[in-house]
């Protein structure tokens, strides 16, 4: 299978290394707008290099493209590939609007092409185990979820790459919060609404560094989002989900999945009532190549196998990424409306409850 790789930033270079090592893949072309790295790779690895994407598409015979450019560029690049009947693996998030993502998904469907977006957490054993537990109704009816991600990305008022520019798709929401939000949509489906969203700056001038929001799902399920990429206390990105249900609770991060199961339901095979812990060592399948984590290799292998089998359905298709893009869009829109201060307004002259009287007293005390 012949593949072209577009964008040689941090993610693109990792993808290139992993896909180049894949036994079923030949990298037929690499594209980047910055000449330096491209020239180095061309000179030292012999890969065929292009400074222009369209030129590569017109010059090289390909089965698929792997796109790892800034988010703003995804839509036209993905479209150009689909129109040439190429399968597409694209880095997350797919597009800056869900309308674009939906349209790309429809185009891929019409042409029977395999699509995949780089939400690698779905290939982390512990997060997959959460999905298995939810499918097995292990904790009964889910009531609430806390989705968190913290890490040390922007730690000072500086930064000059596309990640610091909102218009390019940078910022904590699209670049960081997209991961836990995508996990939420995987576990709970499309949100029906969002509220209380805040996109807060800590150090950045033009983008947010913190994302806080509530998401609402079917059947009265809600989720809090707490994401901060200006958190130096974490050595690297830490993503965590905690899920409460009527019959227990699940807490998972990349390393382990901790589960409490009440005795009101039968535990799934391999679990017992009370606390259970499954570690990454038992939840992770081996991969053909390891760089930075099994999940990165695993998602690329999954894409390759889907293309070989012509399997259009699967995990992380453009359709599922469009749901996540919609959620990101809703949070942006909700945050733009501003914080609701309804609770702080003086109560209307209706029969006062104890709580209302207390609220007014508190309100009066404030300067």
């Amino acid at each position: 299978m012949k593949i072209g790789v577009v964008g040689l930033g941090k993610m693109g270079l990792s993808h290139l290394s992993m896909i180049n090592a894949h036994p079923d893949v030949e990298v037929a072309g690499i594209v980047d707008s910055a000449g330096y790295l491209l020239d180095v790779l061309g000179k030292y690895t012999g890969m065929q290099r292009f400074s222009d994407y369209e030129t590569m598409l017109d010059t090289v015979e390909l089965d698929a493209v792997l796109i790892a450019t800034p988010t703003r560029m995804h839509e036209p690049m993905v479209r150009a590939a689909l129109e040439r009947d190429l399968h597409v693996f694209c880095e997350k998030p797919l597009c800056l609007t869900s309308a674009e993502s939906i349209a790309l998904g429809e185009l891929a469907d019409e042409r029977g092409l395999v699509t995949q977006v780089g939400y690698h957490n779905k290939f982390v054993g512990a997060f997959q185990e959460v999905r298995n537990l939810l499918d097995a109704k292990a904790i009964g009816q889910v009531t609430h979820v806390l989705a968190e991600a913290y890490g040390p990305v922007v730690l000072r008022a500086k930064g000059s790459t596309w990640r610091s520019r909102k218009s390019e798709g940078g910022g904590c929401l699209y670049d960081y919060a997209a991961h836990p939000i995508d996990l939420l949509t995987w576990y709970l489906g499309a949100p029906v609404g969002v509220g209380g969203s805040q996109l807060r700056r800590v150090f950045s001038d033009h983008t947010e560094d913190e994302v806080l929001a509530t998401m609402y799902f079917e059947e009265g399920v809600s989720s809090q989002i707490s994401v901060n990429w200006s958190d130096e206390s974490c050595r690297k990105m830490t993503t965590k989900v905690t899920i409460w249900g009527t019959a227990g609770r699940i807490q998972a991060d990349r390393q382990e999945c901790q589960v409490y199961l009440r005795d009101t339901v039968e535990p799934p095979p391999g679990y017992q009532h009370g606390w259970n812990t499954k570690y990454t060592t038992e939840l992770t399948d081996p991969t053909w190549f390891y760089l930075r984590g099994e999940e990165y290799s695993a998602q690329l292998d999954y894409f390759v196998q889907r293309v070989r089998a012509g399997k259009v359905e699967g995990v992380n298709t453009f359709q599922s990424a469009a749901v996540t893009d919609r959620a990101l869009e809703l949070i942006s829109q909700d945050a733009a409306v501003g914080t609701s201060l309804r609770e702080l307004r003086p109560a209307q002259p209706t029969p006062a409850t104890t709580t209302d009287r207390m609220k007014r007293r508190i309100f009066r005390k404030q300067p």
Partner: protein
């Protein structure tokens, strides 16, 4: 345009110690539990607490410290330099680069910005010249040697007979088929530091193939080797075949599979594998260090 490396017997180190002391526990790295990693980071945020554990390791006869080039390692080097009698036999095996430092810098400044940020402090004119020329002429050799020198600055005046290239970089270059980078690192470590280059990889069989291709003779290679096959890409059988049939100096890491294998069982298995020259392990307490040393003495 791959450069063949001539064998350099002049720089061969003696046999490495059976046990090397690792540093993951000091810097919040734990492959099983993020919570455990955080607790360890809290426990070891003062130099004193790290030094106490290193001293315990020395007292158990383990005085080779295989460590990243994390900023705080500089403090440990300073402590060792300041106490030459206490650390007469103490040896560092630096592993470079400390990948997170670069990854974060790339996020902030882009690829080239990150490289520029890590110019070495020493010989600024020389560095700037080499750096400038490297960027202008796409001279990868200049950049690689420059970054190695920047990473080695903290280790001036302490013993570093083996210098490792970290797995994130080895495996990135391996996947890219970037053979010359290995040759350049190898040559620079031997000539400038009189040290033996070592390579950490999560893809041992594939890495050995590449080292053969570029003519590295009997390279020092560190990889996960454990009874569970945890993070042994290519499969445990291929690793065992490599240990049996290939010529390299094997260092086993992650022998406990991050705690998933009980110590006795883990060490009995790893010691029964052929050709393992050293085992690198991390521990936070004197009791665990002593237990590992005793078990290795029993099995190896």
């Amino acid at each position: 345009m791959t450069t063949q490396i001539a064998p350099s017997p002049a720089h061969r180190t003696d046999r490495m110690p059976r046990l090397l002391f690792g540093d993951n526990q000091f810097f919040g790295v734990n492959h099983m539990s993020e919570e455990k990693a955080r607790q360890q980071a809290m426990r070891f945020q003062n130099l004193d607490s790290i030094v106490r554990v290193l001293d315990a390791a020395c007292d158990e006869g383990i005085d080779t410290f295989m460590c990243t080039t994390h900023d705080r390692i500089g403090e440990i080097c300073a402590h060792v330099r300041a106490n030459p009698e206490r650390y007469a036999d103490f040896t560092f095996y630096p592993c470079m680069p400390y990948a997170h430092k670069y990854a974060d810098a790339v996020t902030e400044d882009g690829m080239l910005g990150a490289i520029r940020r890590f110019l070495p402090e020493e010989g600024l004119f020389n560095a700037a010249f080499r750096g400038g020329r490297a960027l202008a002429t796409k001279d990868v050799e200049g950049i690689i040697t420059l970054l190695v020198d920047a990473e080695m600055a903290a280790f001036r005046g302490v013993r570093t007979p083996v210098i490792w290239l970290q797995n994130v970089v080895v495996d990135l270059l391996l996947g890219l088929d970037f053979k010359d980078a290995f040759s350049i690192f190898d040559e620079h470590v031997r000539t400038r530091y009189g040290a033996e280059p070592g390579y950490i990889t999560m893809n041992l069989p594939r890495a050995l193939d590449m080292f053969d291709d570029i003519g590295l003779v009997n390279p020092i290679v560190c990889s996960n080797i454990n009874k569970l096959g945890f993070r042994m890409s290519g499969g445990i059988e291929e690793y065992q075949a490599a240990l049996r049939d290939r010529q390299f100096r094997a260092v086993a890491m992650s022998v406990f599979a991050s705690g998933a294998i009980p110590p006795r069982e883990a060490l009995e298995w790893v010691c029964s594998q052929p050709q393992i020259e050293s085992i690198v392990f991390g521990a936070s307490s004197r009791a665990n260090i002593a237990q590992t040393a005793e078990l290795v003495a029993e099995f190896c």
